[in-house]
């Protein structure tokens, strides 16, 4: 009798796993979120995946981060579209974690929650006068030209001077520099936001400085973006030949990294000794071995940036010979560059939500291959069962779209392990999307479903076709919600 009961229990256990589906919520619909959803749906026929996003529009940085003149990079949207069309997948746009629904509520409604909401804030330099007008995070500028509704009214000052200084030499810095320097007719054919195109048309910026604390060997950009900016029509590129001289430590770094070697090679080829500026030609200056010391206030416009003071640096090796890392240290020598616009492109930072462990120093959620660590401070590692991270929130703001593929695979292998050992199954079926709908209804949240995005998409393409652009982005919250809820 006793064993019979045991068998029944086992049988019930089996029937719960087969009859009630596992419900998983993914927060964020960028590449990390969509790759996670895709791989979960593929791996488990019984899994239902709901993706929530605080914006009415999906695809995260593919829409608001990838430069408008990189349409081929956005092709990945086709793949995400197929995921969203899967009948076991639902999209809830205009649903913000923390305000529309709390993390605790989501965890109660779903068997597992995967946080993939990226990095929507910025690292700061922490130098004097950083708050002056005319100084922006590159992220804000990128959101502005990509029609993100939160930066629609940024109105960066492109008219008060002819010079922009960009701090940082990664791909975002190069994107931003290219948008400032590229011929306007070429930009006009892209899906750049119309308010940005209009402002760039009237821009007086002719000179862009790309400032890096370290040298050409350590520049964080990739060869593709570098090759592209060096190839801009009618652009004078200025690189000091002396900066390209490599030290033995540089040689080791280049030997260890194919990408560093190729970037250095491209920069070396771009050096044109003794080339004097051509009148009227736009200029791109690579400034190596300089770190920002303080911003300078404009003499004629109080409260506005008029320049930046840079300190010359020298590289110092840390670590052993084989895995040498070189850091920039100040030399006490300074120089000023006048500029009316400064863009800080020194890295994105994630934002914490209530009830989530967060490493404020690294700007990520402490995790073990994607499993959120309940408390990283105490000696033993303890996983927060059913809570996972993927993408920039997991590993920090680096890598390309494809990096998220591997990142998602890693997180999912943790989820799989937890599913297989029964850690995610619960005695009763979790309410999942029905529960979420009820909560959002009770709060009068205007949820934008995937076909709401379809309406935005159609409208944007329609408006774009009138202007010979692939799309004309709706760039205000009001317009987005109005069109989505038609």
């Amino acid at each position: 009798m006793k064993s019979f009961g045991k068998i029944r229990r086992i049988a019930r256990c089996f029937s719960t796993t087969s009859s009630c589906p596992l419900r998983i919520c993914v927060v964020g619909s960028g590449p990390a979120g969509f790759y996670t959803a895709e791989k979960l749906l593929k791996a488990y026929q019984s899994v239902e995946v709901d993706i929530i996003d605080r914006l009415p529009t999906p695809f995260g940085l593919v829409r608001s981060g990838v430069a408008p003149d990189h349409p081929e990079t956005k092709v990945v949207i086709n793949q995400f579209l197929r995921v969203a069309q899967n009948e076991r997948c639902s999209f809830f746009g205009n649903v913000s974690l923390g305000s529309s629904v709390t993390l605790l509520e989501l965890r109660n409604m779903y068997n597992a929650v995967v946080l993939a909401y990226g990095a929507e804030s910025d690292r700061s330099l922490g130098i004097p006068k950083e708050e002056l007008a005319g100084i922006y995070a590159a992220r804000e500028f990128v959101w502005w030209y990509n029609g993100h509704p939160d930066c629609r009214s940024l109105a960066p000052d492109l008219k008060s001077s002819d010079t922009a200084v960009i701090l940082g030499q990664g791909n975002v810095a190069l994107d931003v520099a290219r948008i400032l320097l590229r011929q306007i007719e070429e930009l006009a054919r892209t899906d750049i936001a119309s308010h940005a195109l209009a402002a760039l048309e009237e821009s007086s910026i002719r000179k862009v400085y790309l400032v890096g604390r370290r040298g050409p060997v350590q520049a964080a950009c990739t060869a593709k973006e570098l090759r592209e900016i060096l190839g801009i029509k009618d652009l004078g590129v200025y690189i000091k030949a002396a900066d390209l001289v490599t030290t033995p430590a540089d040689e080791i770094e280049m030997k260890n990294s194919r990408i560093r070697r190729r970037v250095h090679e491209l920069l070396s080829k771009a050096v044109t000794p003794g080339c004097a500026p051509v009148a009227g030609q736009r200029e791109l200056h690579f400034v190596f071995f300089r770190k920002p010391d303080m911003f300078l206030e404009s003499d004629d416009k109080s409260g506005h940036a008029g320049g930046i003071r840079l300190e010359k640096t020298a590289l110092k090796g840390v670590g052993d010979d084989e895995s040498v890392r070189q850091v920039a240290v100040g030399t006490g020598e300074y120089e000023d560059i006048s500029c009316g616009l400064a863009l800080k492109s020194i890295g994105y930072k994630s934002v914490a939500v209530d009830g989530l462990p967060f490493d404020t120093y690294k700007g990520i959620v402490p995790n073990d291959r994607g499993r959120v660590l309940a408390d990283a401070s105490c000696g033993h590692v303890q996983h927060d069962i059913g809570l996972y991270v993927c993408g920039w929130l997991k590993r920090g703001p680096t890598g390309i779209i494809g990096t998220n593929l591997h990142c998602a695979e890693e997180t999912i292998s943790c989820i799989s392990d937890d599913i297989n050992r029964g850690a995610l199954a619960s005695g009763s079926t979790k309410p999942g999307r029905e529960g979420l709908r009820q909560v959002l209804d009770s709060r009068n949240t205007r949820v934008v479903p995937f076909d709401g995005w379809g309406k935005i998409d159609c409208e944007e393409r329609r408006r774009g076709s009138l202007k010979n652009k692939p799309r004309e982005k709706l760039a205000t919250w009001e317009e987005l919600l109005e069109v989505a809820c038609r």
């Binding site: 990189h70 349409p71 081929e72 990945v76 593709k224 592209e228 990408i259 494809g402 292998s413």
Partner: protein
């Protein structure tokens, strides 16, 4: 002799075509359609060279080559690929899990494959700068890495074995060691 010269010329012409194609793809908004066009163009060029060298009856079977994909778990899939088709397209037509985020427009490195035989690798034309830019970012890059979208089936590649690199494992420690070249 003459035939091989002719082939080389063809390859050269195609390489030039590829170059101009990648340049236009930058500004083109339909890179996929562009690539399809390029694909059929390649097909025609190769077809004409093979047709010249072979009798009519043989053409049919010569138009397809054998390709072996080794997936992340080491499992092999044997497929037949028409001459002129890219390995990315071939993988997708045969339900082989090879990612292709940018659909062959040379804007990502997700279709990265490792050519498992150096001799086969050496039969491929050199990667363009644009392909190398993407390979820079490929996960688990090896000496014989290529992008699947840039390997186009041609008769000499019959029997080529391509490994899809695993995200969480390293081929080098798993027994497969690409030889330096």
């Amino acid at each position: 002799m003459f035939f091989s010269r002719f082939c080389k010329l063809g390859v050269h012409a195609i390489r030039n075509l590829e170059k101009s194609a990648t340049l236009t793809a930058r500004t083109s908004y339909a890179p996929k359609a562009h690539n399809k066009y390029l694909g059929s163009l390649r097909n025609e060029l190769f077809c004409s060279t093979t047709a010249q060298a072979n009798s009519e009856q043989k053409t049919e079977e010569k138009e397809k080559i054998n390709v072996i994909f080794c997936d992340k778990d080491g499992e092999e899939t044997h497929i037949k690929v028409p001459v002129g088709m890219s390995m990315l397209e071939a993988a997708h037509e045969n339900d082989i899990e090879l990612e292709g985020a940018c659909e062959g427009s040379l804007a990502c490195s997700t279709c990265h494959v490792i050519v498992m035989d150096v001799d086969q690798y050496n039969k491929l034309s050199e990667p363009t700068d644009e392909e190398n830019d993407m390979l820079d970012l490929a996960f688990g890059l090896s000496e014989t890495s290529r992008l699947g979208c840039q390997i186009i089936a041609k008769p000499e590649l019959d029997g080529i074995r391509l490994a899809i690199p695993a995200a969480t494992r390293n081929f080098a420690v798993d027994g497969f060691k690409p030889k330096p070249h």
